[in-house]
Each structure stands twice: as C-alpha cells, then as structure tokens.
C-alpha cells in the first residue's frame, strides 16, 4: 500500500530533484490508494494546472446514460494527435460530475415513481484516518444525489464475527441496496471471509468471486463491476475511444483494479496483455498498446518512451510525492510521467482529476442500479 508513506520520483523531468525511489512494479492496488488517500481536490488540481497549463474543458453537453458510446457519437471524441505534444486531457472530474447528475436525476425519478430511495451501507472497522476520510466523502456523495447512507463504525479490535453480523443485517435489510466494506480491514481479520459475507445482490464493489467469475466468462453478466476499472472504461466510452480490435496493456494485476480492468477490456474485444512485477521489459510491451491502463501505485514509473505515439493513457495511480513548496509537504502524481506521456499520447487522464473522481461516481451508479434491479424499475 502506498497510501501511508510518501513516495519519491525518478527520471521525470519536472521531478528530477526529488529523491530516488524503487522502480519495482508493486502490484499494489492504486484503487486502494485512491480510496484511502485523503486527497484534497482543490489543491491538487491547482498544482496540476500549474504543471500542464489550463485544462481544456469541453462545452456543457446533455446527459448521457451509462452505456457504450459509439466513437462517432462520442461527446468528446479523441482525435489522434500523435507526437504533437497536445494530448487531449480526459477530464474525469467533469465526467464524474455528469454521471453524478445522471444518478441524481434517476434517484428522483425512482422516488417519484415508486417511492423507493436507494441505500448504501458502509462498514468501517478501526480508526485509520484515510479510511474515515473516504467514508465521509462517500456519505457526502450519497447525500448529494439523494441516496441514503448507513454506516457502522466498529473498533479495530472487533471480532470478525461481529463485522459479519452487521453485514448479514444489511443483507437482510430491504432499504439497503449496496454494502461496502472499507478496506483495509485490521490484520486479525480474514478479508476473504468478510467480503464473501456480502450478498452478491448488494456487492456494489464487485469484489465477490461470483461477480469476478462472471466478468471473466463469456456469455455471463456480473451483477456489479468494480468501481475503479468501470470508471476507466466509462472514460474511454465517453471520450469515444474505440476498444474493439485495439491492443491494450494493463499495468498491474490487483484484484480491485488491474485484473478486472483487463477482463473488461477483453469483454470489449481488445487484445489484452497484462504487465506486472515479473514482466521482463515492460516498456517494450507497453509501447505496443493503443490503450494503456496503469494501476501500480508507483509515481511516474511509466515514461513517455513507454507510450506508443497516439495511444490513449488511463492513469489510475494516485501517489503522494514530496513537495516542499506545497503547504502539505507533498503533492499527488500518477503512475505515468504526465509531462512526457502527454507529448506522445493522443489522450491522457491527469492526476488528480482523472480516474480518481470516477470511483465514487461509479459507486453511486452501482448503488442506483442495485436499487433499480431489486425493485424491477427501469433499466438497471
């Protein structure tokens, strides 16, 4: 996990003065990072803007449903701009806002039509500050769209049974449509046992093996897809990036980002390769990809030289690096050296403001879908 320590940066022009860091791929989940790191958006965006200049903003557009968009109908089609230094910025903050508005509208419509309000239960064990921050953010996001939130906060030394008892209660409660267990759990608990206790009908995180198995299988449909990789694919859809027939490389193979991202790309008919800590020459493999999704939690590990000209780059990493100029003493960077990669790619997500905001938006969307399905209301 990278959330609790500060990482340093290597070989990226803007960060050359920073201290050395291990370049080993870690296979840690950047989603965990995204979930746990209390990033403060305002400051982060300001810092990033300082680096890359003002973020181009597409004009306001009508809302669109959460479905695949054919490139010709994309809201913000990516026009190949290989090598001219002007990669399109994939604005996750803006897309997340749009999705959040779509969810809010659907929540209102369902409430008006059948009187049902979606509910999300969050189980938090222990006193990690980062976890507490994330839970707060989720509660706030739920409130903002009209989803009820329920939370249970248990002491770090609670027995596993106690946690599972609460999960079972939420499984049986018809006003709860999604259950999220905040990770990491205290070390004395078996994460597998606890996560498996969540009913697959309420597994809005999509981490249950049945949902992962269905995601892997052709002709099967998972009830939920994990939020962060779903957010990555949603960005590709909304920016009209064609996936079918393209070569895609996923860097990192965590259960919560890398692996499900690879399965999602595969479902959309990309030719997928997974790069991980045991991969020899990850640069050469990554350089073949039309689409790169990086989720390793190593700041600036993916250099510009790793990127094929014209590729689309989705950077899941949210890594704190030392920054004496920042009031907080650190700033956030991705797995990808943005400055270099944005000169080669045709489109790229910034950090922060790329994939990060999509995770909570997808959680709200999954909770809405679950409530719709439970009540047989509309499309879900």
């Amino acid at each position: 996990m990278v959330n609790a320590r500060t990482h340093f940066v290597l070989h990226c022009p803007k960060y050359q003065k920073s201290r050395m860091a291990s370049l080993a791929l870690t296979d840690t989940s950047s989603s965990a990072t995204a979930r746990l790191f209390p990033f403060r958006r305002r400051n982060g965006v300001l810092l990033l803007r300082h680096l890359v200049g003002p973020l181009p903003r597409p004009p306001p557009t009508p809302l669109r449903p959460l479905t695949a968009v054919h490139p010709s109908n994309a809201l913000y089609p990516v026009v190949s701009a290989a090598g001219d230094g002007s990669a399109k910025v994939i604005d996750g903050k803006m897309v997340a806002k749009q999705i959040t508005e779509e969810v809010a509208s659907e929540v209102s419509r369902m409430k008006a039509a059948i009187g049902v309000v979606p509910g999300l239960a969050v189980v938090l064990v222990g006193d990690r500050k980062d976890s507490a921050t994330y839970v707060r953010k989720k509660k706030k996001a739920c409130e903002s769209v009209g989803i009820n939130s329920f939370d249970v906060h248990l002491p770090a030394d609670s027995p596993e049974d106690e946690v599972i008892k609460f999960i079972s209660g939420f499984n049986d409660d018809p006003s709860v449509h999604g259950i999220l267990v905040q990770l990491p759990l205290p070390p004395h608990m078996d994460e597998e046992n606890v996560l498996n206790a969540v009913s697959i009908e309420k597994d809005v995180d999509g981490f249950h093996p049945v949902n992962i198995g269905r995601l892997a299988m052709r002709g099967r449909e998972p009830l939920f897809v994990p939020c962060t990789p779903k957010g990555c694919i949603e960005l590709l859809h909304r920016y009209g990036v064609q996936i079918k027939g393209k070569k895609a490389v996923v860097i990192g193979r965590s259960n919560i980002v890398g692996m499900p991202a690879a399965l999602l790309l595969q479902r959309e008919d990309a030719t997928v390769s997974i790069v991980h800590s045991r991969t020899k020459n990850p640069e050469a493999i990554t350089k073949q990809a039309d689409i790169v999704i990086s989720a390793v939690g190593q700041p600036n590990m993916v250099k510009g030289s790793w990127i094929k000209p014209g590729a689309v780059v989705i950077d899941v990493g949210i890594n704190p690096v030392e920054d004496a100029k920042s009031r907080r003493g650190y700033r956030l960077v991705g797995d990808v050296c943005y400055e270099e990669a944005s000169k080669v790619a045709s489109a790229i997500t910034p950090v922060p403001g790329g994939v990060g905001p999509m995770t909570i938006a997808m959680l709200l969307s999954n909770t809405l879908s679950s409530a719709k399905r439970a009540n047989n209301f509309g499309n879900h």
Copy 2:
C-alpha cells in the same frame, strides 16, 4: 462447435491439396471438441507418426505428484533446440498414463485407510453420439482407477427442472464427489442455470463462476481448475518448462480452455496476452511468445512463421480434416501446423496424443482431490 463438421486445411505443406477453409479465429472451445469428438487414438497416432517419424519417448520414470516441478527437477527437461528442426515432443499420452496411475494408487490408499471410494456422477441429456462416446470413455477411465461412476441419461426433451433435480440429488449424495454435466445441453436449456446448480464442492469441471472468480483473483484458491487448461499447465510442469517471467500467448478465449488457461499462466507469473477473433495481426503477437497455448478449433491455423524460435507450443485443438486415405475419411490435426512448428519450437504437443489424453486424467485427479477434501484425507 467444430465437432460435428469436417474441417479443411490451408497452407500447411502436407495438406496443400486440401480444400480451403476460413481462417477466422472462432473462439470455439477446443475442449468441447476434445470432449465431444470420438477420436480413436490408435489410428490417429499412427497417422501422426507417419508425418513426423517415430515419437521420441522418454525412459520410464518414477511417479510424481501433481505439483509444480522446478525446471531443474523436471522429468523430461526441455532443452532449447531452436530452429534445429528437432522440437521435443511433449507426450501427453504418456503423462496422462502416469497421472492415471498416480490417481489409482491414491484411490487404493484412501480406500484402505478410511474406506472411502471417490465417486463421479455424469449427467447426459439427449442422444448425441459424440457425447455418449465421451461418457463411455469417462466411465472406463473411472473404472480403471477404482473411482465409482454414476450416470444419468435423460431424453433430449427433458425439462430443465428435471436435470437440475438430478444434479441436486448428486449434490446431497455423500458418495458422489464430482458432478459433470456433459455439454452441449439441448438448445432449450439454459446452460448457465444447469451448471450453476452443481455445488461448488463437486464442480470437478471448474466451470462454476465462483471457481473461475477465485482462479482470476490473487490470494484466492479455486476448489477446482477446469480440466483441459489444467492439463496444459501440468504438461509444462512435468516437462520442466519455466513459466514465471515468460511471455505467454493464449489463442482463443473460451470459458473452458482459453480464458482459464490465461488465468493459470497469469497465476504462475507469466506475462500473458490473449489472441482472439478480433485480434489484429495474431501472427506478430504470437511470435513474441515463449509459451503458446492454442485453443481455437481451426486446423493448422498457427503456422511455423507464428512461432518464436525455441518457444514451447501446447496445441489444444483436435480437429477432424478430410483424409481419403483414412478408413474413416478423416484424420485429426491440431490448431498448429505441426510439421512447420516442430522445426521452430523447442517443444510441442502432438495431436492426437498431446493435450487430449490429459483432460480425462485431470478429471480423475479433480475427483480424487474432491473426495480427499470431503473426507479431510491427506493433501488435496
């Protein structure tokens, strides 16, 4: 499915006179082919020997357990023989025989120690000749190692409920440790419903989404791994082929071979790419691989030019091609053009006599493991 029709061959020197066939990758399962096609080993092997000369046979060796073998301890280590035209033949028939003997020995030991005999139940619906043949082969294989076999044969027009009722009966029967539903089911049945009815503790085929999900997830263990891909990896292990850190390409992404084979290679730290019907330039991608597993059901689709010198090639395809000289009017060939690939690869499985015989051996092995686990006997 390719089992019922005859395929023709293109571009492989020995088959140039054959008629043209579509070269499109089909994503059909060659495991289904392997399962359903009534291949007659003796004839096939004779034909193949005619093509490649006598198959080299490793000397008889002591039995080994079904575990990963470090290359330095391999029974039949693959010595790189790139390009010298003398790829080592990976003799699946011999390895399957060895595994079958190991299973028989363990079955006896368990019976003697705790009086339990493993049991496999096979559910057959309809009157497909190929399915009936396969069921017969399985019964015979069970008998040969001392596993009890139970089978139910239902008419093709049976209602789905009826099939599920029998499966439930086997789920509750402690003398049954594995349940196998013979595929394909008649078209009026929902394959997903029927397969999901099999208890995951008796899912010796490994097709239940929970088992597939656990196979995909790091830190989780499936109760069973699908037999054909497990057989592929077992061949690599027994021939001491290093997987960790190697580039592997799986051609085909079926639920029963390609996809789980890719997940297994990934678990063993290969860098895996999956080639399928939507892949552009499959030749160039395959040519980068140190290990190729092909499971598409297209005769001789993978040419010698697709293979990296020194690669190890596992050919899952068992495809009938027209052969006027054969009494039967056809012979069996793999997905890989053996004659060409064996000049480039360092090791290769023949067809027949490669992966084919491994599927039933793995089924026996999975059934034994299940019985051991159910009775908490020894390692399982």
